[in-house]
Each structure stands twice: as structure tokens, then as C-alpha cells.
Symmetry: C2
Subunit: 299 residues, 2 copies
């Protein structure tokens, strides 16, 4: 029996229109061997993040269908939002969860990329483990210039898409697809509305400007709460733990007289990452996952 | 298919002699439908805590066998240890884990009590949910006077055992058996060797002297490390969380200039209890167990 399971977390550029959001999410409902775990729409980001798990081919097919839906109802020429994005379907990361190798998930993403370009004529960039060039590994590099800068970017031969021509889709832009390790999307809220302070904190902790190896970070305003947020991807929680990101933000914020007022996990989080947090704060000695009741029931 | 699962955490009064410890633990090895999850021997306590899960009857039978082994190799007249105890097999709590009611587990403990007294002639007290009198619910009350006080205690008609006569077993003392909810055995280490301070802290947090409703606590010396320990049972972690016990010990210790240097969980701990700790320290907003990847895989 094939028990392979992959996770996919497609990000769509629509976080405000509930009707459109439901249309996209419907592509993941009532599909055999696909489980819709979660979806969260963010008004400020104007972005929808869906989390599904299931059998590899079935997950791929559902994502393919959702891309068709999103392409028809999202017009990037009218899209505004705080989160960087390069297309109507901005990014589709696939993550191996059980009984499947990273190589097989890379293959799966390439199949999807080819099919998406064939049918929907959206140019596809492969990233992370699926990247065909080292400089395409990093999503931020591919996304640089965002949707609005795509025409300019695609004039550069260096940026020929992995599938498709050097020409954006007129309303859907481009799409980034790839296989990657499980990451944690983690945001920390600060009691300041000063985005410059928050940007400085984000820079202090992220790898790209000298911070922790497995933290990607940016800053976002949450105007309706009059606060700002350090928005992070923890790309390897086994090496850069959540508590470390939390404590680092706390001590960086302190120099500005700013405090953490809460945090949130977007999408799913592996149990181990949170257990590690509890273990740190309680100073647990001699602890292992074996001591968790549920770990033993699952075997 | 009967998927009922119970947990049992028998406590034996031997924490130093490895050969004897192995003999006892062997009763839980290679038993069909019984899984030995963990065993920890503590030299200062001179006590062995075993954790097993499995099908109800099979768990009961393995515990019955282990009681026979322990009775033959432990002589309570020679036993010294820091942890209160009333017999060679001090206490056997049974906990419903899955697809079994508390009532059914109470029945199981009564069967075991009867069989233990019939075969091994050890007097049995039923406690917690299995208690036949309200004043026998609490293990500490049954254990008052410990092994050394048993002769005196059993002269009192009020203390007629639930199974057996008013006479202790000459080397094994008495045994306490019962069904209860899952508890967390949690110890916090302090950087003081002053046991009086640690006792004051234990009293400040425990229910019996005015503290938290679901904390039982005492104090123990760890002479080889020159430290002391607040030893706790959290009898309902859904109402008195681990972080609350931890923070309460921390702030009580502060008035004595004493600090927490670490903590430990003895035996098993439900995942939810640790997730709650992580959630508190990170100030997680909008979090639920559904956001944990493994929770979704288990369904």
C-alpha cells in the first residue's frame, strides 16, 4: 500500500473577496485522498494561504485545478497588498511528509510546472529544491520587482522561466513552484505602529542581513490594530528554533522600547517545533519526544 | 475490533539495585498487546516508576505478574528512600487512554485488587476513582505513616483494607491500586540545598496548603548535586497548566534568592500539556491543536 503523503501550501493573491476565496478553496474540497487542513485569508496581505495534505498525484491535481480557478478570477493589475507577490497564484511549495523522498517531490513539482504552462500559459519558475539554477533557490530573488516589475525582469535572458516564454500572463503574472523542507510561517506582533523600527528588527534577525541562518523576515503594518508585525519563515526549525526567533525579536525590540504583544503561526506546524519551545522555557532535562503519550500511540 | 487502551504507572520501592530493577521490568517485556514505554529508577527516592500502555486485560495481567516479582525481591524492612511509600509495590494507577470509560477502568482495578490479595496476601487499598470511601481518594492520606506506621494504622477499623485483613504483608507492606485521570509527574530543580526553603515553596503552590487546585507538591533533597527539588503531581493539566506551576515556583523561590535550574517530566506527558506551555510563552493567538501537523495525520 502506498502511504506517501505530501503537503502543499499554495498562496493566492486574494485575501478580501470572500466569494472568490471560497471559489478557490472549493478546488480542494471533496477530493479523494486530499485533505483540506486549513486556509487563512489576510486582508492586509490581500492573500490566501491554503494548506492541504494527501497522496502526491491527487494533491498535484487539486492544486492544478485551483490554479485554473484563481487565474480566471484574480486580476493582478488591480491587486494591492502588503505581501510581495509575483502572480495571482504566487507560490506553490510542496513538502514531503511521509514515505516520499525530496527527489520524488521535485519530480512532482516539475510535472505540475509543465502542465500549468501547457494549459494556462502562465510562466513558471522552479524554486528551492526544484530550482534549476542556484540563484533561483530563493523565493525572494525570484519575486524581486514583484508583479509590477515582471515585464522588465523577463526582458533579461537570465530570467527565462523554467516553463514558458519570457512573457508574463496578462492578468495572472507568473507562478513559483517548488519542493522544500517543512517551514514554519511565524509572525510576531509588536506594540508599535512605527514600521521603520519593525523593519530594523526584522533585519537584525534574518539571515540575509546577518542574522540567524534559517530565518527569513520582513515587516508589515496592521493598521486596524495600530501595530506592526515581524513576519518570518523559519526554514529549518531543527536548527533555528521558534523560541530563538521569539527571544531575538524581544531583545532587539527592547532597544526601541518596543514589546511583543503576541505571535501567530500561519498554516501548520510540526509538533516537534512547539515541544522544543516548551522544553526550552521549562528547562526540561532528559526530555525526548518518546515521553509524549501520543508519540507512542502513533507507532 | 476492541481498540481500548489503558495506561498503568506502577511504582516499586527499588531504585538502586539494577538487577532487581531489571527483574521487575522484565514482567512487562515481550507481552502481547502490552507496550513498555518507559521506566525510571531514582536512587534518592529508591523507587522505580514504570509506564506501560496496552489492552486493559493484558496490562492488568502484566501488572499482576510484576507485583509477584517485586513482592519476592523487595524487603520493606530494609528499604530507605526519600519518597513516601507504603509497600514494595507502592501504588498502581490505571488511566483510561482511548475507547474505555473511567467506570470500566475502576472495575479493572477492583479485579486486580482481589486477585493480588487472593494470591499474594498483600492488603490492598483502592484510591482515586476506585476509592470506596471519600477519605481514601487521596493517596497521601492512605500513605500517611508510611510502611513503618502500617501496623499501627491497621489496628484502626477505619483502615480495614478494601481487599485483605487488617494485617500488613511482613515484607511487602500494603499496595494502593486505583483508576485516575492522566496526571503529569513534574519536578523542578532549585539552586539551593536548603530543604526548608524548598518545602516552603512546595507548600505555597500546592492545593492542600492553599495553592493551586490541581497541584500536589513536596520537597526532596538531591544530595549528590547539592540541590533540592519541588516534586509535583499535576492532577489536571487542563485546569492547572505546567507553565503555571513553573512560574509559581519561580516567583515563590525569588523571595529566598533561589532560582530554577531546570525541570523534568517523570514518565509520560500528553502532547497538549506541552503545546499549552509553548502557546503561553510565545503568546500564540488563534492557536489550536488542529494547527499541529501530526494531529491531522492521526485522524
Amino acid at each position: 500500500m502506498n502511504m506517501s503523503i505530501v503537503e502543499c501550501v499554495p498562496n493566492f493573491s486574494e485575501g478580501r473577496d470572500l466569494e472568490k476565496i471560497e471559489k478557490i478553496v472549493n478546488a480542494f474540497r471533496n477530493k479523494k485522498d486530499v485533505k483540506l487542513l486549513n486556509y487563512e485569508a489576510d486582508e492586509n496581505y490581500n492573500r490566501l494561504v491554503v494548506t492541504i495534505i494527501g497522496k502526491p498525484q491527487e494533491v498535484k491535481n487539486a492544486v492544478f485545478e485551483s490554479i485554473g480557478v484563481a487565474k480566471d478570477i484574480i486580476n493582478m493589475n488591480e491587486h494591492k497588498g502588503q505581501h510581495p507577490r509575483v502572480g495571482a497564484i504566487d507560490v506553490c511549495p510542496f513538502i514531503p511528509i511521509r514515505d516520499i523522498s525530496m527527489e520524488d517531490v521535485v519530480e512532482l513539482t516539475k510535472e505540475l510546472g509543465r502542465e500549468v504552462n501547457d494549459k494556462y500559459k502562465i510562466p513558471v519558475f522552479l524554486y528551492e529544491e526544484s530550482a534549476t539554477k542556484e540563484e533561483r533557490r530563493n523565493l525572494a530573488t525570484i519575486r524581486q520587482g514583484e508583479y509590477e516589475g515582471l515585464d522588465e525582469k523577463l526582458k533579461n535572458y537570465e530570467w527565462k522561466p523554467d516553463f514558458g516564454e519570457n512573457k508574463k500572463h496578462p492578468t495572472a503574472g507568473a507562478i513559483v513552484i517548488g519542493a522544500r523542507k517543512a517551514l514554519i510561517a511565524y509572525n510576531i506582533n509588536l506594540d508599535t505602529d512605527n514600521i521603520e523600527i519593525t523593519s530594523k528588527i526584522a533585519k537584525a534577525i534574518r539571515y540575509s542581513s546577518g542574522g540567524y541562518r534559517y530565518i527569513k523576515a520582513g515587516s508589515v503594518e496592521i493598521p486596524e490594530k495600530k501595530i506592526t508585525q515581524v513576519t518570518m519563515n523559519l526554514t529549518d526549525y531543527t536548527h533555528t528554533s521558534m523560541y530563538r526567533a521569539f527571544e531575538a525579536v524581544k531583545f532587539e525590540a527592547k532597544r526601541f522600547g518596543v514589546n511583543i504583544i503576541g505571535s501567530e503561526i500561519v498554516g501548520l506546524c510540526p509538533m516537534e517545533a512547539l515541544i522544543d519551545v516548551a522544553s526550552y522555557y521549562l528547562g526540561l532535562e532528559g526530555f525526548s519526544l518518546k515521553k509524549i503519550l501520543e508519540t507512542n500511540l502513533m507507532e
